[in-house]
């Protein structure tokens, strides 16, 4: 494993008026890792991700993606650099079908301008066909081929999450940020989701995720950063984290120590 950094968060602080949501957080994510950000509710995980993806800039500090400073970029610019994300509370296009949702995800790969589109129907069709091809590839990959023309709002929650995951994959990202991918899924769906995350990682996409489910985190992640009240309290491998007293105390309380030591077979 090489030690090249893909994402560098450099002493960021985010204040919402009086509330310090993230306090002087630094974080290094290496290439070819699945990096998890964990912490109790309200510890600033989603705020951190929102800053990385550009939803709002940090009050202080800088964020670098592969050496490029992305601190004050717009979300769409950051996405174009190759960072794709899913949301904690699903953000799908509810009036569109599964296929169309994916195709919006791939919109930015298309190049044609609107005037060119109107005067050149042949080329327009080609471009649409390319986008469709990519969307069908992803549909196959996430296993929703049968549901391609179903409106997403009529899908069960697990399938909706899968659609959002597919939409994030459409643009062929290099870094995929997942905000609580396993939340709200039943054990079967969770297993399927973990499988697809690992499979995606194997195709060469690095993954940064927020997760509450310890089974998932401890089994698939290579690095973990733990937040509490907006500040980093620990980081390291799953093994280090499981045996870090500070983490167990802050995150779960002393009496839950045995639960942290999840065996691999549980999943």
């Amino acid at each position: 494993m090489n030690n090249e950094t893909i994402l560098k968060v450099d002493h960021i602080t985010k204040r919402f008026s009086g509330l310090v949501a993230v306090n002087d957080l630094s974080l290094l994510m290496k290439k070819r890792t699945i990096h998890a950000l964990i912490g109790p509710n309200g510890s600033g995980k989603t705020t951190t991700v929102n800053q990385i993806t550009g939803a709002f800039p940090p009050t202080e500090g800088e964020i670098y993606y592969k050496g490029t400073c992305t601190t004050h970029m717009q979300p769409y610019q950051i996405a174009r650099l190759g960072i794709s994300r899913t949301f904690q509370n699903l953000k799908l296009f509810t009036s569109l079908s599964v296929l169309e949702n994916l195709m919006v995800g791939g919109h930015q790969m298309t190049k044609m301008g609107i005037l060119n589109f109107l005067i050149n129907p042949v080329k327009a069709k080609q471009e649409e066909a390319q986008l469709l091809e990519r969307a069908e590839e992803v549909l196959e990959y996430i296993g929703l081929k049968d549901l391609r023309d179903t409106n997403v709002k009529n899908l069960p929650y697990g399938k909706q999450k899968m659609t959002e995951f597919g939409r994030a994959l459409m643009m062929k990202p290099e870094l995929l940020i997942l905000d609580e991918p396993a939340a709200g899924l039943n054990p079967t769906e969770r297993k399927a989701f973990v499988d697809i995350i690992l499979k995606t990682f194997d195709t060469g996409i690095d993954i940064f995720l927020i997760e509450h489910n310890m089974d998932v985190v401890m089994n698939i992640c290579t690095d973990i950063t733990v937040l509490n009240f907006g500040a980093k309290i620990a980081e390291g491998s799953p093994y280090d984290i499981q045996n870090n007293d500070e983490v167990i105390k802050a995150y779960l309380g002393d009496k839950y120590k045995p639960i942290m030591a999840v065996k691999k077979e549980v999943l």
Binding site: P75, Y76, L92, S95, L96, F117, R167
Partner: protein, 324 residues
Amino acid sequence: MRKSLKGAGILLLLVILVVVPIVDKNTYHHIVLCQTLVNIVVVTGLNFITGLTGQMNMGTAGIMAMGAYSAALCSTKFNFPIIVGFIVAILMGLIVGKGLGYPSLRLKGVYLSLTTIGFSEITRLVLTNWVDLTGGTMGVQNIPWINLFGNKLDTSFKIYYFYLVIAILVTIASYRIIHSKWGRVFKAIKDNVEAVDASGVDIAKMKILAFTLATVLGCFGGAMYAHMMGYINPTTFTQDLSANYLAMMMIGGIGTVGGSVLGAIVITILPEVLRFMENYYWLVFSTIALLFAIFLPNGIVSLFTGNKLLKRFGRTEKSFKGEE
């Protein structure tokens, strides 16, 4: 089966549109029909920004006025050829589109509506008071007829067929845009802006594009209106007109080309059909419009695309089938 039915429906509508002015020789009716075509162009444009992208634009009257005055003044005051007037109207549409598009990046919902109303009213007041240029409340008179390759379109009958071709071209173009990547992104912006942003799409660019499509078609429609009537004045372009266009879009069916076309036809022609009721015609018309809004919330077009009437009463098609 459904596709061929749809094709038959469109063909039927086309035949009706072509035949009616030949059968009906009444000149006033011809003017109403021309007005219908102008409205189709304008509503198709409005559909992009309000119907698809979900940005409430209540300034259609102002947009149309800009187009109408640009074209009219070019051919009367400055004696340019009419084609130049139309081009200037389109350029005006591009400018207004950018101008209205930028506020829409920061303003949402009712505040954007107020901004567009403000734009519309300012336009009307400037046109009323800048007497030297616009003729004030007297309006612009003697706007020349369109001259098409040496054929002077000097009756509403002739103009009708020219405008019919334009309306068909506009309809085809907007059908293509709605069913393309742009149509998809417009709808996606209405559903969830943040997710579109996170997908790497420049929202600012998209919203401005949607606004520009609306203003270009609005201004173009305005120019068509000016050359059809031969006379324009600012009192035409009040808020009533903007509301009328929104009504056409909603009663026809939001977000679809078919809806825009049907809405424009129904809302333009229905009041004329009801004229025999004399004093009561506007009351009856409003009642009918209200009934449409209640019983066909997805517009007239939903009559042809699926049984949306049932959904109104809390039953989906699926649950209805389940009861059988």
